[in-house]
């Protein structure tokens, strides 16, 4: 979807400001919100892209004004409602009003060390890769109203395949009920001037990780 989360190339957000000696969490609730998100993510009901999509579909003004962990918490509330694990009344009442539903898996404290590293998103290939390293490709001009990981700023632009990363779970499919639908994943590099115009910095190259359905032969 062409949401406010797709920020690459936008103007008007001001300079990047670094906080010196930044703590991992600024307030206790941030750590709890993050931990709940991770724990519920392990329940086996939704995957990473579904939780990204839950945040992307927050109203634009809410997305922009919310702090990072606020967004995660609001995204988690949406997923809990969507999967019927929690009711609107319960969110409003701020307490449980009915017993919980069975969930596929409950994260135990002893299993936390295992979730600190990420598992593989690669899946067996069903077809040979269509593109090779060095191929010129065009990022398709697609504008799906649903979740996609092809940023707007590369759509329609020519780039070069630099690496083939294997066949990976396809975010556009997994968020629309079509399962993993693994697709070949490529690193595609663009000349900055092709993206930002002839007046832009000639020393810049930008790459995205693009699944095969995002690309076409020019």
């Amino acid at each position: 979807m062409n949401g406010v989360h797709d920020m690459g190339g936008m103007h008007g957000f001001g300079p990047v400001v670094e906080e010196k000696d930044e703590p991992p969490f600024h307030e206790k609730w941030e750590g709890r919100a993050y931990a709940m998100h991770r724990a519920m993510g392990m329940a086996g009901l939704w995957n990473l892209d579904m939780s990204r999509y839950a945040q992307e579909t927050l109203p634009a003004h809410v997305y922009l004004k919310s702090s990072y962990y606020e967004r995660w918490s609001r995204g988690l509330e949406k997923l809990l409602l969507q999967f019927g694990l929690v009711s609107k009344d319960e969110i409003a009442a701020q307490r449980s009003l009915a017993p919980g539903k069975p969930i596929p898996r409950k994260l135990a404290a002893a299993d936390v060390p295992k979730i600190l590293t990420r598992s593989s998103y690669e899946r067996p290939a069903r077809t040979p890769a269509r593109f090779r390293v060095g191929d010129r490709v065009r990022a398709r001009n697609i504008n799906p109203p649903t979740h996609t990981r092809l940023p707007r700023y590369v759509r329609g632009h020519l780039g070069t395949v630099e690496a083939i990363r294997g066949c990976h779970v396809f975010p556009d499919s997994v968020t629309t009920g079509k399962g993993d639908d693994a697709q070949w994943l490529y690193t595609v590099v663009f000349d900055g001037r092709d993206l930002w115009g002839p007046q832009s910095d000639p020393t810049v190259k930008v790459s995205v990780e693009a699944w095969e359905p995002y690309l076409e032969t020019p």
Binding site: V17, E19, R32, A39, R95, A109, P113, R118, S120, D201
Partner: protein, 192 residues
């Protein structure tokens, strides 16, 4: 937000969906165990062992796993090395993808709209926000983390560090230099 999050935790606990001790363990891990010191150890090894550096750039997950430094290593890590002519910088324009297990939680600026919007269109300006001025002819390569591949920058080893131990070298490796918004500390900056 504090009340809302606390209420949500009570609801999830009462319904039996989460174990508070598991939440404690997650918070504790990110506050005390997982952090940029992990990435720094890997970079320091790459500085002293060219063969390891080659392996790291070829397949970072396999090379880091082979070191045996860490109990587990995430999949799909990609290490990109700076050279005198090339500077790498990592961003996630769409959300906050970051090599968490190597660098810990991403800092607020990495997840902020100013960084996500400008890193791809004006990386030189962003580096200036960090006080970093590269030579005008240095090529800047921006890696937008749009998939599950996770990028870590291997900066160049600072001059004046001949004969240093890996542990001492690792102290020069800052979080920002592994994202690309900084350079490693110089020897004279150590301990400041």
């Amino acid at each position: 937000m504090q009340l809302r999050v606390r209420a949500l935790e009570s609801i999830l606990t009462e319904k039996g969906y989460v174990e508070p001790a598991a939440l404690d363990a997650i918070v504790e891990a990110y506050e005390t165990k997982v952090g940029p010191h992990r990435g720094a150890q890997v970079v320091a090894r790459a500085w002293v062992d060219p063969q390891f550096k080659d392996a790291l750039v070829k397949d970072a997950t396999a090379a880091i796993a082979a070191l045996g430094m860490f109990e587990r290593v995430s999949e799909h890590i990609v290490a990109v090395a700076n050279t005198p002519h090339l500077h790498n910088i990592v961003v996630c324009t769409l959300c906050s993808c970051y090599p968490w297990d190597m660098l810990g939680l991403p800092p607020v600026w990495y997840k902020s709209a100013p960084y996500r919007s400008r890193a791809v269109s004006d990386p030189r300006g962003v580096l200036q926000d960090f006080g970093l001025a590269l030579a005008p002819d240095t090529e800047i390569r921006v890696w937008d983390s749009t998939a599950e591949t996770r990028f870590i920058v291997v900066p160049m080893r600072p001059a004046g560090t001949d004969g240093w131990s890996e542990d001492k070298l690792a102290r020069l490796v800052t979080r920002n230099c592994m994202i690309g918004t900084g350079l490693p500390l110089r020897p004279e900056e150590l301990g400041k």
